[in-house]
């Protein structure tokens, strides 16, 4: 191979590597929260926080609307931050809350103080329900459609941007 062609080959290969690794910096290399997108929500049974005889099964059957699932707890600081957004969403969409590894007294005090955006609040004392639906870091929010498919999932506290996104989805 002649020298100029060697050099051009070298330059092209190097530039390709640069571009690939450049994109790797932008790419999401942590856990992909989209793994469950458009997959059915695993079946779970929530026991109400306030009345242990009251149960709720999810996903809902025979519904024609979207609904939200939000995993939260009173000791979680980002949950406090996103609470106002949940209150805003409350009027647009039904929110099912899963109270994660929390004390009933603390959870109810939290809701009394900051408002209750949940249509139903279930309790997940040992974290197994959250694991069943693929959560790993609270707060987490799911948008489920009428066929029981998860069409949106967000890990971490909700913010304005996500609020707008959810509002778009549920129109």
């Amino acid at each position: 191979m002649k020298k100029p062609s060697k050099i051009s080959l070298l330059v092209s290969v190097t530039v390709i590597f640069f571009v690939i690794f450049y994109y790797s910096l932008k790419a999401n290399n942590k856990n992909n929260p989209n793994i469950m997108l458009n997959k059915p929500l695993p079946a779970i049974e929530l026991t109400s926080l306030v009345n242990t005889n009251l149960k709720q099964e999810l996903p809902l059957i025979n519904r024609d609307k979207y609904y939200l699932i939000n995993i939260w707890s009173s000791w979680c600081v980002p949950c406090r931050e996103e609470h106002s957004i949940l209150m805003k969403l409350k009027d647009k969409i039904k929110i099912y809350g899963i109270n994660y590894k929390d004390k009933k007294t603390n959870a109810t005090a939290f809701l009394n103080k900051l408002g209750n955006p949940f249509y139903f609040t279930g309790s997940d004392k040992d974290g197994s329900i959250s694991i069943e639906i693929g959560a790993y870091g609270i707060p987490e929010t799911y948008v489920v459609n009428s066929q029981g498919l998860i069409i949106f999932k967000h890990v971490g506290p909700l913010n304005k941007k996500i609020y707008l996104r959810i509002s778009e989805i549920i129109k």
Binding site: T14, S24, A27, N29, N32
Partner: protein
Amino acid sequence: MISNLGAVLLIVSFLTTCSTLFLYIKNNIIQKSSIYLQFFLFYKVSFYLILFSFFVLIACFAISDFSIISVYENSHTDKPLFYKISAAWGNHEGSMLLFILVISLYGILFLLNSKNINDSLRACTIFFQSIIQLIFLSFLIFTSNPFSKIFPVPVQGLGLNPILQDPLLAIHPPFLYLGYVGFSLVFSLLLAALILKQYNSRWASIAKKWIMLPWSFLSFGIGLGSFWAYYELGWGGYWFWDPVENASLMPWIASTALIHSIVVMEKLKKLFAWTAILTILTFILSLFGTFLVRSGVLNSVHAFANDPERGVYILFIITIITLGSLIIYILKFPKESVNNNRFALFSRDFSILLNNYFLIFILTVVIVGTTYPILLSVFTGETISVGPQYYNTILAPFIFIFLILMAIGPLMKWNGNSPILMKQKIFSFFIVSVFLTILISLYLSGYNFIFLLGVLCSVYLIVSVFHEIVMNKKIFFTKHNFSRLFSHLGFGLLILAITLNHFFSKEINAKLHLGESFFKQGIKINFLKSESSKEKNFEELFGIYKITKDNKTFILKPSVRKYKQPQQFTSETSIQRDGLSDVYIAMDYAGDPSMGMGVRFYYNYFIRLIWISFALITIGGIASFVRRGNEKTI
């Protein structure tokens, strides 16, 4: 304030380096020796400026000057002085300054140790070294200035992470840098030789020590990191094929191939191309490792300052250095040298060539395993993990064959040999090794096929080394043989120790209440009592455990620490020696305490032999450059 002094020093150093380069380029044609003196002087000045700048940074940390962002983020008045100082290089900006200091230091070391080399080669080497220095200085000053200020000045710092307050962890980065950053010098030396048409076997003779020095530091640094992980992290393991560990292993593998290659180049004037490419590859891999670790593309226990923006700069730096060096190689490589590349099948040089193929294969596996998750996420958006099983499965058979090669290779003569004597040795070593393997197997009742293979191959290498030492007692202490024999012996012992450790270590997880005992696999663990104590920044709860194994008793005192600022729990291991093995225990602090205290117990079989092997490998490396050898004047 002195922080301003530090920043000023950096800038002046930057300007001095620029002047150095300018002076070189301007006076390239002039051969006057006085120009060289001036040139070297400028370079020395830039070194001292960087050195003082580094001292200034340390001083700022020592006095807790929180007006500087890096001090604020990484230090705290309650930190012991030693850790305040080590925090100076324990963060991104400070460690980049150390990085540059090492580049400059190697340049100075070269200047001081190259009096017998012609000035034009020296100057050209320093020229390239200055370019590298300048590139990283610009990166430092413009994107990662360690002396950046913050206003208003905070009263207290943020950096009191207890896990980072460990003596071994503190000195680990400097050793690694003296290792892989040190390869910058032989890189510059190569480019200088190519340009000045001095790339030949005499160059190889000079360059050898500038590979051995960083290689020894790197070997030691990797061993130190492994040792620290074992003692501190509490998982009983010493190597996890963690991406950050791999980042330091990659230049190590390439430089090991380079060492062997350059020996052939010096002795037989062959493998010119291999040596050049490996020199460039080693340095590029060092930079690539730096990129992987700092840019945030990797997810590992060693979470360093993850900043994708800086990653782009480092990536760009790697690209231009790669392009520049390879273009020089393509344009200036002496074509005639290739004609010499003839090999006899049963010659030492051919076995070194074979050895290089093996090392490149191993290197490829490590690179693929480390970067595959990154590349996959770029192309498909999906993420996977590549765990230890991938590396162990693929590499084990090759390492076994490699061990045999390491044993047989040195038996052969350069350029060809007398096969009869060699075949006798190969065969007799085999007999002895099989015999020893059977002994070991019976003693330990180990009959697993892979275990036996691992023992056989490593013992084979060890036997061949001992044979050579015994047969050649007189010339054993020539620098060259001592070095190779020690390092090869160390490597053989390392694989033997890893094999023994893998198959005969024991791990027991149990939950014990106070006074309870647990018996499993011939080991009894008895939770005797607990004690608590209070230190300046943490409370400690000790568990006293009695371990009984084979009629031997050990008392271990692991603990859980609760730090106050920031609030954090750590688990401290307790380790006792049992011959070459360790009795090792750590407590779990999570989980329901009413179920008992969780403990993880490990019997780490022959783990101390692993540390001894690392030491032998390093000593072998150091031995090769400590004594002045027969390097020729060019």
